[in-house]
C-alpha cells in the first residue's frame, strides 16, 4: 500500500483535462446512443437492435469467481475460457431468430425488462482511416419481471467499443465486454440481451 499522505488529489480520471466543446458533444452523442439502444431492447425491437451491431462484433461475458485479494487479476475467466456469452454477430442473429420462432419458452410469454445505463465514461478515442472508434465504460442495471411474480436483477459493468464511419452519423457496437457482479447468477437463465 502506498503512503496515503503522498497521494495527490490529481489522480487520473478525477480532474479531467479541460473539456472542449467537442468532448461534451461526443459524450452527449454516446449517451444518447446508449439510451436509444436500451429503449430498443426494452421495447423488444430486437431486429432494430441487431442493426446496431458491427459485422465483426465481439459480445462476451466471462465467468467470474471469488478470489482472495492477492489473486484479483484471476477473478474473470480470460478470452477463450468459460463464458456466459461468447458470441459473434452471426451468433446474435441466431439468438434473435430463436426469439421469433414462437417456441422460445424462456421468453414466451415475454419478459418485461428495463435496461438502465449509467456512469458513462469515454476511456479512449481513436481516429483511424475511415472511422472513429471510442472505448467507453458504463454501469448497467437490468431489471426483469417475468410472469406474475418472477423478478431478476443483473448489475455490472460494461466496456463497449463503438465505431462510426467518417461521414456517417451512426455508431455501431464493435465489441461489448460484460462484467457481471455475481459469481453465481441468481436467475434461471439469461434470455435477455445486455
Amino acid at each position: 500500500m502506498r503512503n496515503l499522505a503522498d497521494i495527490k488529489l490529481r489522480t487520473e480520471g478525477w480532474i479531467a483535462p479541460a473539456a472542449t466543446l467537442e468532448d461534451v458533444l461526443l459524450q452527449h452523442d454516446i449517451e444518447q446512443c446508449l439510451y436509444h439502444e436500451a429503449a430498443l431492447l426494452d421495447a423488444r425491437r430486437f431486429e432494430d437492435w441487431y442493426a446496431l451491431l458491427a459485422d465483426d462484433l465481439e459480445y462476451w461475458m466471462p465467468a467470474r469467481s471469488t478470489r482472495s485479494s492477492e489473486d484479483m487479476d484471476e477473478e474473470f475467466a480470460k478470452p477463450g475460457e468459460g463464458a456466459l456469452f461468447d458470441d459473434t454477430k452471426q451468433h446474435m442473429a441466431e439468438r434473435i431468430r430463436k426469439l421469433f420462432t414462437g417456441f422460445a419458452w424462456a421468453e414466451d410469454p415475454p419478459s418485461r425488462t428495463r435496461h438502465l445505463v449509467n456512469n458513462v465514461r469515454i476511456l479512449e478515442k481513436t481516429q483511424s482511416e475511415g472511422h472513429l472508434e471510442v472505448k467507453i465504460e458504463c454501469g448497467f442495471l437490468i431489471y426483469r419481471s417475468r410472469l406474475a411474480r418472477d423478478v431478476d436483477l443483473w448489475v455490472g459493468r460494461r466496456e463497449d467499443w463503438l465505431r462510426k464511419a467518417d461521414g456517417d452519423g451512426a455508431w455501431l457496437i464493435a465489441k461489448r465486454h460484460i462484467f457481471i457482479d455475481q459469481v453465481s447468477l441468481s436467475s434461471q437463465n439469461l434470455s435477455v440481451f445486455f
Binding site: 478470489r67 475460457e81 468459460g82 461468447d86 441466431e94 439468438r95 430463436k98 417456441f103 447468477l185 437463465n189
Partner: protein
Amino acid sequence: MLTSLEIRRRRVKLAGGGMDTHTGLRHDFGQFVDMARGLVNRRIFSDEDIYRLELERIFGRCWLYLAHESELPEPGDYVNVTMGVESVLVCRDEDGKINVLLNNCRHRANSVCRADRGNAKSFVCPYHGWTYDTKGQLVGGPAFHEVYVTGLDREKWGLVRVPQVGTYGGLIFACLDPEAPSLDDFLGDMRWGLDLLLAQGELVAVPGIVRWTMEANWKFTSDNAIGDMYHGIWSHRSAILAGHAAGTGTAVNRVMRSPQGPGFTFVGEYGHGFTANFVKPEEVNWNSPLAAWRKNPSVQQRLGEFRGKVNRANMLVFPNLFVNSGSRELMLRNPLGPRRIEIWKTVLVDRNAPPETRRQFVRASNRHFGPAGMFEQDDGENWAQSTLGTASRAAESYDLNYAMGVGAGEFVTDEKSPPRIDSLCNEHAQLWMYKCWAEYMDAASWRELKANHSRPQGRL
C-alpha cells in the same frame, strides 16, 4: 388441534418400512415409484422432509463429483466446492496428494477458506486465526501457547477429512460415507459410458466455471440428464429452428422429425445411466476440428466400433452429475433446498489440441449450455415450472407419467456393451433412476443397499 408438524406427518403418510430418526417419518419409498405402470409420485419433488432425508441417504452416501484433476496441477492448489450442501476444500498437498476437507473450522465452525480457488500453504480461520495446512492438520493460531495454558492436542483438532477420495479419468470424486463401495465399484459399468467422453483425448478443464441457480428440484435435472430424449424436439425447438448447432461436429437433425432415431439406452447399478444416439459417417462434418477426434486411430481403438458410432451421449452419474460427450461439459447440480439448485458448468478440452480447436470447443459449449445457452435457457424455465407444479396439493394424488414404452425395454446382453436397451427415446432410464432413488432412501446403510439394489436385467 394438530401441530404443524403433525399435520405435515399426516400429509406425508408414509406406510410400512422403518422409522427415520430425524424426521419421524415412516417410510417405504418404493411406494412413490410404480415400475409396472411407469408412475412417480409428485411429492418427492417438493417435500421438505423427503429432501432432508435425501441429503443424508443420497448426498451423504454417494460418491460426488468435485473437480477435475487439471484444476489442481501444483502443490497448494485448491478449489472450494460443494458436496451436496457441504462446503469442502479439495487441495493438493506438498506431497502431491489430493485431500478433501470440510471447510469448517473445528473451533467455531467458520469457513476457513472463502475464495473459490487459488494456491495456499495454509487455511486460516478469520475468526480467531486457527490455521490448518493443506493436509488439514491444525498448525496453530495466534499466541497459541500463551492462551491454551492447559494444552490443546493439535493432532486431534484438524479439519474433518472426507473419508473417501477417488478419481476416474481425471474426475475427482469423494464420498462422505466410509462404508460406501470404492469409486470403481460405485460407477461400475457406467465407466464404459463415461469413456465416450473421457477417451476422446487427454482432457483438461477449461478455467472459468459458470454457476447459476434455479428454482428446481435436483431430481428433475437428473432425470433430464439420464434419458430425456423426448424434450429436445419441443423444449429446444426454438434453438434448432434458429440454426443453432450443438457443437458436436456432426449434423444429426433427425431429432426435429422424431426423437426416436438409432441409438440405445444404458442403465447401471446405483442409479447411473445414459442415452446415446448414433451418427452415420455421412453426417459427420469431417473437416470440422470438433470432429477431429473421430479420425484419431488410438481414440477409435479405445472406443471400439460400437462406441465409435456414437454421436453424443447425455449421461448421469447419480445423483447429480450430468456429462455431455458431445459438447464436452460436466454439469454438477447441487441442491440448495427441495426447490432450488445451483449448477456448476465445467468445459473439458483436449490438452493437445491446437489452440484454434480448443477455442472452437469452448465457444461451442459456452453457446450451447449455461444460463444464456441456446439450449439451456429453456431448460431452466421448464425445470422450474415442473417443480412449481409438483407443489400443488390439489394434484398431489395424480402421479407423474414416466410410462413411455414402459415394459418394452428389454436388456440386450452381447459383446458390444454392458447390458443395454436398443431404443433411444423412452423413459426407461428415468424410471430406473427413481427406482434406484427409492432403494437409497429405503436402505438404512450401504451394507443394506449393496445387498438390496437393482441390477439391469430382464426388462424395464
